[in-house]
Amino acid sequence: MPKVYNWQLGREMEYPYEGRRSTRQFAAVFNINRCIACQTCTMACKSTWTYSKGQEAMWWNNVETKPYGGYPQHWDIKTLELLGDQPGWDVARADNQKPYGVYQGETLFEAVKTRTTASGQQALGYLPEAKEWRSPNFYEDTAYSTIASKEGRMGDGTKLPEHKAWFFYLQRICNHCTYPACLAACPRGAIYKRPEDGIVLIDQSQCRGYRKCVEQCPYKKPMFNPETRISEKCIACYPRVEGTDPLTEGEPMVTRCISACVGKIRLQGWIDDPESPIYYLVRVAKVALPLYPQFGTEPNVYYIPPRWAPRGYLRQMFGPGVDQAINTYGKPDHELLSVLQLFGATQKLVYSYKVEEDEVIGYGQKKQEVVRVPIEDPVIVRSEKHFNVT
């Protein structure tokens, strides 16, 4: 099996195909600290792409409540259990090229060779049952706080169980991985990664609905359409990224879920362009981290971890960079504070930015200004005569 370099793991790893990176790689940063679970992103995606027959239980974008929620149910717990205990990370070897150190365990591509009995698997995985895709909001804010009774029932049903310890919201779309497990899994070669922007797509004319992508994507983002009998997935709103929407006159736009976000928690850009604010957040400030990097797919949606959740849980989910990310995010310097203002500031894709004393300016594909945001608004107190208290 060919060897490819995975910078998130700080080492080479095995992957069924030769490593060919795209010219640019689609990426996004989601700031968990700002998400209030209004699900506007979910509905923006739903009403744009998955409103047809056969797509009723299909949510390319979903927001789930951790630690209990999941779509499909318990997707991450099940994959972590398949992977089993791993030695973890050698953080002493961390440097600019290997920001989290070196992962010493096995990835899903490596573990599959010794630990599965299913034939033809390229990555360790499982196929969720149909019922696990139902009720994407199951466990939202009502997680059970005690072990179930002997009968497995929730008391007498007069009071909903409540979880009082902690929780946070995890916003999920396809990670458009650099080394996608779905692509590796497809026996038809129907899944491809676009060389111009790294977006991962399923060729609908080639797919025969074997569901190998659903089985082997650890994030469970390819989904089977029972009506068409083939698989579908998030397409990163590629017509918008290509700039074909007349609204912006040819200028590339961010995805629907990103532009619709009420809390302005999302920013889209390019992970491999040092001028991109995404590159700054992930590689320079190191406040945004990949989701389950140990899976080995090099996912390209990054998360600013929540400040309030237990660190052990967060380290398992986002890797060893969690403590530094939260510490840096908690006390943002001028540049970080400025880049955070670009989140949700425009529908146009921000390619680069410039920080000034009071403002941050975002530039588009042709280096033209697309947005200008004050870093901190001045406080203006009205005179008593005009004080508009209602």
Binding site: I36, T65, Y68, S135, G152, E162
Partner: protein, 86 residues
């Protein structure tokens, strides 16, 4: 009820997981509420708008805090966060 039970699989949608414990000495819910307030203050929302966000049942996270801890808790936290920023 008993008749229906034989046709249902109660395991399907049973909430069966145990607590993932928080960290001793930390009030994670208060920290979460505080983070929401700071984040939306950063986006220049007014105190009234932030309080309204906590009151709104469609905002699952803030509303959980509002429901569990009450309006006074949120208002105290709001004034504390603003003061600490000054």
């Amino acid at each position: 009820m008993a008749d229906n039970e034989q046709f249902e699989n109660p395991e399907d949608f049973e909430l069966t997981h145990h607590v993932v414990p928080g960290e001793p000495g930390r009030d994670h819910i208060e920290e979460m509420a505080e983070t929401f307030i700071i984040e939306f203050k950063r986006m220049r929302w007014s105190d009234e708008a932030i309080l309204a966000m906590f009151r709104n049942p469609f905002n699952a996270g803030p509303y959980y805090v509002f429901k569990e801890r009450g309006e006074t808790f949120v208002m105290d936290l709001l004034s504390r966060c603003v003061k600490s920023k000054d």
